[in-house]
Each structure stands twice: as C-alpha cells, then as structure tokens.
Amino acid sequence: MLSRVADSLYWMSRYIERAENNARIADVNLQLLLDLTNPTEKDLLQQWDPIISSLEEDELFASLYEKPEGKAVIDFVSLQKKNPNSIYSCLTLARENARTTSEQISSEMWEQINRLYLFVKSDAARKLVRTSPYEFFKRIIAGSHLFQGITDATMTHGEGWDFIRIGKLLERADCTSRILDVKYHILLPSGEKVGGNVDTIQWMSVLKSCSALEAYRKIYVGQVAPWRVAEFIITHSAFPRSIRFSVDCFDAALHRISGSHESKYANEAERLSGRLRSDLDYVTIGDIFKFGLHEYLEQIQERLVEISSAMQAAYCANNAFESFTAD
C-alpha cells in the first residue's frame, strides 16, 4: 500500500472518531446541566469550562465568544469552522483524506463519509444544532457507528483496514483519557460534598460519555464510586471504549501490519505500544491514584502521541491532509 494512502486512511479514521467523541462529550454535558437543580450562573459557566480545556482550545474560544455558556460551547464544538477540532472541521478533514484514498476504501464507506459531511454542511444541521443539539449529536455518533460497521463489513481486513483501526483506536484512547480528565477539572457546585449526590451524577456522566454506564453497572452492581469508574474506564480488558482495550487492539493491528510476533517488536512504534500495553495490563487503580489521576492521564496522552509519530515515521513518509494533529 502507498505510504501516502496509509497515512490518509489513518487520519480519516482518527478524524471521524474525534468528531464522534466531541459529540459524546458535548451531549453528556448537556444532559448533566439538566440534572443540576437551581444552578447559579457561576455553576453553569463552570460546567462548560472544562470542555473547552479538554479540547485545549481556551484561547481560540475566548477570541470567538464572550463567555463559555452553553450555546457558545455547543456552536464551538459542533459547527465552528475556525475551530480545527469542531465536528465540522473533523468531518471535512476526514472526507478530504477519504477522497485521496477513495479507490482503496469501499464505495459504501466513501458514500457514508460523504453523507455525514454533506449533513454537517447543510442548513438542516445548522437548524438542528440550534433547536435540538441532542439530536444533532446523536446523529453524528450514529453516523460514525454506521461508518465503522460499513468498514468492517465491506472492506478487506488487510493492511488498509489495520491502518484505519489504528487511527480509530489511538484517537479513542486519547479521547477517553480526556473525557475522564474532564471530571478532574469540574468543580463541585458550592455546598456540594465529594461523594455526594452531584458528585455521583458527574461520575455517572463520565460513564455515559463512553457509553459505559450499563456495562459498568453489570460489573459493579449499584455503586458509582470514583476510583471504580476510573478503574473501569482505564483498565477494563473487554470494554470497547476503555483505554486498555483500545491500546490492546491497535497494538495487535501494528503487529499484523509488520507480521512480527506480538511479544516482539519490529519497529519503534511497536516497542512503545507494547510497553504501554503491558503497563496497562499490570497497573492497579491504587497505583494510578497514588501517581495522581490527572498526571497519569496526561502521561498516557503523551505516550499516544509518541506512538503515533513513530508509526508515521515507520510507514507514512509523506503526510497528506494532516493539517491539525491530535495534541
């Protein structure tokens, strides 16, 4: 496969996953607001602030909007063209990358990306964001799921498919760590206690962002405790949006591409990913909290960036439409 094409498939997939995750974060935050009884204006602002921070676009946001209130944040993450990580921008870049590889992906995949892109560009989308952002985010998430399903069902599970998987799972691991980190930034409204009602609701919302609440409940019956939520989201071996699961899967994809055995490594990307993988296999939630949850998540994000660059150095000599990076 052409190096340029491998690179484009990787980025196409990352951008779709990123659009989906942005929709998840914004959607859950919208729901969270509804759970606050008699919120003060300060509470409301505090609620949205962490989302901007998690996207690491504070300055850009401040230059575009007066204050981080709901409507502004929703516009910023959904359709703001100036935000390189908005859903609009992500899907535009995903489509550009798909266009340069459209003879490699199946026509069904291409049509699905194109449909999603045409949707976010349409007046209908603009109207939907205004009138019912919840529905807009649902459509983006469902659109991304449909794309993944089409990909698995219509594309040969070979090298190209593996690059698509690596892109998706690397991005997912990164986004999941950011979603968990959002909770770190959220301050409890004045008068609320740690472990109190609002605190629990906030941790539940973290699970919901990852579609993980139901899965969590089946394992830890009843209680939503912070350390258990973190444990589940970081280290669960079989939940498809956990960090460990994502890392396991892209590590396997890397080995399928090079043909090297899973316990060995053929290049720097495999060495780094194998190391991260074994760390996640053996780390306990106690270790993580001792290290500091925020610090731990940051360190994971850094290591994901290293793996991504090593992978590109190994396989993708020249970059296609990678105008924005994840980090």
Partner: protein, 487 residues
C-alpha cells in the same frame, strides 16, 4: 398525465427525437410512450433521486472561478439520447478508421516524416506545433501505439450527418460519467431500459486495463499498472479515482513515485515497489521537471529517462498532442487517404487555417459568421462564436489571429443537432454533442455510445461542463436481427 412534449418546439434544427413537429422518430417511440403515461410528480421524484445519487457518491467536478474551488454536480438530464444500431455502426467504423490513421501519422511524424516529404501536410504545420516533441524523434513506443485512449467529439449537422469536431488525444476525460449516468438511469427507469435493448457500457474499465497491460515493457505478463493523477484538487479527480478503483489499480501522485537507475518505483509501506505501466492523467508538460516544465511539482524527476529506456510505459505516449492540434485536425481526412487509401467515413467540419493566405483573408473578413478556435485549447476556452459575440470581442480576435496565425483556425457555425432536455419545468430542445471513447490496444475497442453533452442554456452551442453544460445517458441499441428501426 405529465404532458411533457405537448409544447415541444423542434425548431430549425436536426432533432434527435422528432423528425418534425409531433412526429417521433421510431427508435424513440417507446420512450415517448413512457413519458406520455408519466405524472410530473413521478418525474420529479426520479430527478431528485438522480441528483442525490450523484451528490452522495461525490460524482462532482471542481470549478475554480473564485479563490475557493467549489464542487458541483455535473448536471444530468434524465431524457436519454438514443442511437439506433446502424447509425452507431457507421460511427464506430469511422472512429476505428480515424484512430488507425492518427496512430500511423504519429509514427510517421516521429520517424521518417513521409507525409511531410510528400507534401500532404505543410512542414511548418507540424514543426511549429506547440505539442510536437522533436526530442522523441526515432523513439519507438511499446507495441507501436501512440494514442491508447482517445475521446473524439462528434456533432451532427442540420441533415443529421455525423461530423468530427475535434480529437482529444492527450488525456480525454468524461468516461466515468458515461458509466455513472447509466447506473443512475438503471435506478430511475429500470423497466424502460429493459424494454429497449441497450448495449452495456460497464466493461470499459476492464477493456482499459487490458490496453494498459498490453503495453507493459518487454511484454511482461503481470505488470504493475498505476494511474498518475495531478491530485485531489484536479477537476477530474473523481474520474481518476473512479477508474483506478474499477480497475483495481493504485492511484498515485507524483510525490508517490520515484525514479532510480532508469526505473520507476512507488513508495509503499513496505518500501519501494517497481511500476511498469503508468496511465497518466497529467499532460506532457508536467510529467518530468528534468525534461519539461522545471516548475512542475506534479511530475516525477527521471520519469522520462525511464520511459526512454523502455522500463516504464506511458498511456498515452509522449507527443500525441500534435495529433489533436486543431490545425493538424484539418489534415486528418488527407491522412486517412494517404495512409489507408480509404475515403473518410466521418467527415470533418470544414476548417480555415489562418496560416493559409486565402483562408486568412476569408477569416478576417467573416469573423462575425465564424467560430474561431485557438489550436491548443480545449474545454470551450480560447474560442469565439462569431454570431453570438459582441463587436469588441470580434475585433479582439481579429487582432489575435493577425498576430499569431499559426495559433488559430476558423470554422463555419454548425447548427448542432438538438435533443429534448428538461429545462425550466418543460421539455425543450437543447444542442448536444457526443464524445465516444476509443481504446487502442491489441485491437480497437469503443464502448457503445459515449458521453452526450448537452448545452443546457437556451440557444447555447457550448456543451462544456465549465460553461453550463450537462450530460445525458447515451443508449446504443442492439441490432434487431438485421431489421433495425430504419428511419
């Protein structure tokens, strides 16, 4: 019912569907009957279906008339153009004859130049042509084929006679629309297509791949074939990716290729992989900055050397632009007589060469009645349609022609045939042309029909997509046991 044709004006033109007011040509009668029973709403549904199909498939081209290229759908008209079997038979024979002569001409011109020595074509016509490549004199192209893919534009005059308007012997485009248009019609009019016996067009990509494999260096049996595109911003990018996909070959950009030791390789995730045949959709000028334009970022340095060494084959060959020079066009009927000893089956549109003294003075005196064309332009650019031009425009062209006669030819305005198209909520006669695609490999293959382009603006004679043109599906009918519907 929809009442689509009750106000239809045949006008003073050859109409593809009607031989006179209200008189339907026999090969269109089933179509006419189908439209008679169709409600407007049903037609609107089909139109919406067709438009959304093109949009989601990304069957678009890019227009650069502002800073930002905008993607547009090539407008598609749902009324097919129908060509009866015996009419197509004539066209096909004419095209085979023409491509054969053009290839013999190219071989001759790049070797002994007998046709110039015998005075059939004036020497300076060839030597002064922009696209003549004297640096490839005495170079032997694989299998002796120069033009592997040719798009020849045909028009019909007032009597319905097919005429050749121009040959496109470099990188003709449009064939992807032929195939996509048919797919769309199959969805929109499944039963109608069943009633007619329309010849299939879907095997074009397979035939093209056969041609490309046929010219592999040293007769290699499993060659690596790639399609070289200028990139995603090229207006024909959809077509490039469509063809690569349907042939199952890689689509590459210049930066994906590298030439080393007289060989061409592509950069893959597993290292460099040798390439044998390149279907290039880039003009000669941009192929190799070491040989042609130094500023070309689209090409591959060293590609031409590898081509000369016979290690990589190109389709089309370098230097075919001389064959679609509009001044050389004038001499194609003479070429056919010279090389084949036959009368041309498809006549040319009569042409005045500004390089000929008598022709030049005729041109200068009659500009408002003529079509003036720059010899190397295509896509409807660089031309003047006298009867539709302002006085100032005519004057501007008069100066241009005087200043650089080799660069211009003139033709009388041909009243292109018309076919019904749905415009402004009704069926109206619009001018059409036809671009069949000719493939030259082990044998000459032509997909039945080709791209019918239609000038959707009322009265317009320009069918190019960049100038408000659209397209129609083209149906070539199977012969009905020799007893075809004769008009």
């Amino acid at each position: 019912m929809g009442d689509f044709f009750s106000d239809y004006q045949v006008g003073d033109f050859f109409d593809e569907m009607f031989s006179g007011p209200g008189v339907v040509r026999p090969h269109y009668s089933k179509l006419f009957a189908r439209f008679k029973e169709m409600e407007r709403e049903e037609f609107e549904r089909k139109r919406a279906l067709a438009a959304s199909t093109f949009l989601t498939q990304g069957v678009t081209f890019t227009v650069y008339n502002d800073d930002q290229g905008t993607e547009r759908i090539f407008p598609f008209d749902l009324v097919p153009r129908i060509i009866p079997a015996e009419e197509w038979d004539l066209v096909e024979r004419g095209l085979v004859q023409r491509i054969t002569a053009l290839n013999l001409f190219l071989h001759d011109i790049y070797h002994t130049q007998n046709i110039l020595r015998d005075g059939v074509i004036p020497k300076q016509i060839v030597w002064e042509a922009t696209h003549f490549r004297p640096e490839f004199m005495q170079f032997d192209v694989p299998r002796n084929i120069y033009i592997h893919i040719c798009g020849t534009d045909l028009i019909r005059d007032k009597d319905g006679t097919y005429l050749v308007l121009e040959d496109n012997a470099r990188c003709p485009s449009g064939v992807s629309y032929v195939i996509e248009n048919r797919q769309t019609m199959k969805r929109a009019f499944p039963s109608l297509l069943g009633q007619f016996r329309v010849r299939a067009v879907e095997d074009y990509s397979q035939e093209l791949l056969n041609v490309l494999r046929h010219i592999a260096p040293g007769g290699k049996t499993e060659p690596t074939v790639v399609l070289l595109t200028p990139g995603v911003y090229n207006s024909a990018y959809f077509e490039h990716s469509f063809l690569a996909r349907s042939m199952g070959i890689e689509i590459v950009e210049g930066r994906d290729l590298v030439a080393r030791d007289g060989r061409v390789f592509m950069r893959t995730t597993k290292g460099l992989k040798p390439v044998d045949v390149i279907y290039r959709r880039i003009n000669d000028d941009f192929l190799d900055p070491q040989v042609f334009r130094k500023d070309s970022g689209l090409g591959v340095p060293g590609l031409v050397e590898a081509y000369r060494d016979g290690n990589v084959s190109l389709a089309n060959s370098i230097g075919t632009g001389i064959a679609d020079d509009k001044a050389v066009y004038h001499f194609v009927p003479k070429m056919i007589r010279y090389y084949l000893g036959e009368d041309p089956i498809l006549p040319n549109v009569s042409t005045y060469l500004a390089t000929e003294k008598e022709d030049l003075s005729y041109i200068l005196e009659h500009i408002p009645e003529l079509v003036i064309k720059a010899v190397n332009e295509s896509g409807g650019y660089g031309m003047l349609i006298g009867p539709q031009a302002t006085k100032a425009e005519c004057e501007r062209f008069r100066d241009k022609v005087k200043k650089n006669p080799r660069n211009y030819i003139a033709q009388p305005v041909v009243a292109l045939s018309r076919a019904p198209a749905f415009c402004d909520n009704d069926m109206q006669g619009r001018h059409v042309d036809l671009r069949p695609f000719v493939l030259y490999g082990e044998k000459v293959t032509i997909i039945p029909g080709g791209l019918t382009r239609v000038a959707l603006r009322a009265g317009s004679l320009v069918v190019n997509s960049s100038q408000g043109g659209g397209s129609k599906d083209t149906w070539v009918l199977e012969a009905e046991n020799g007893a075809a519907a004769v008009e």
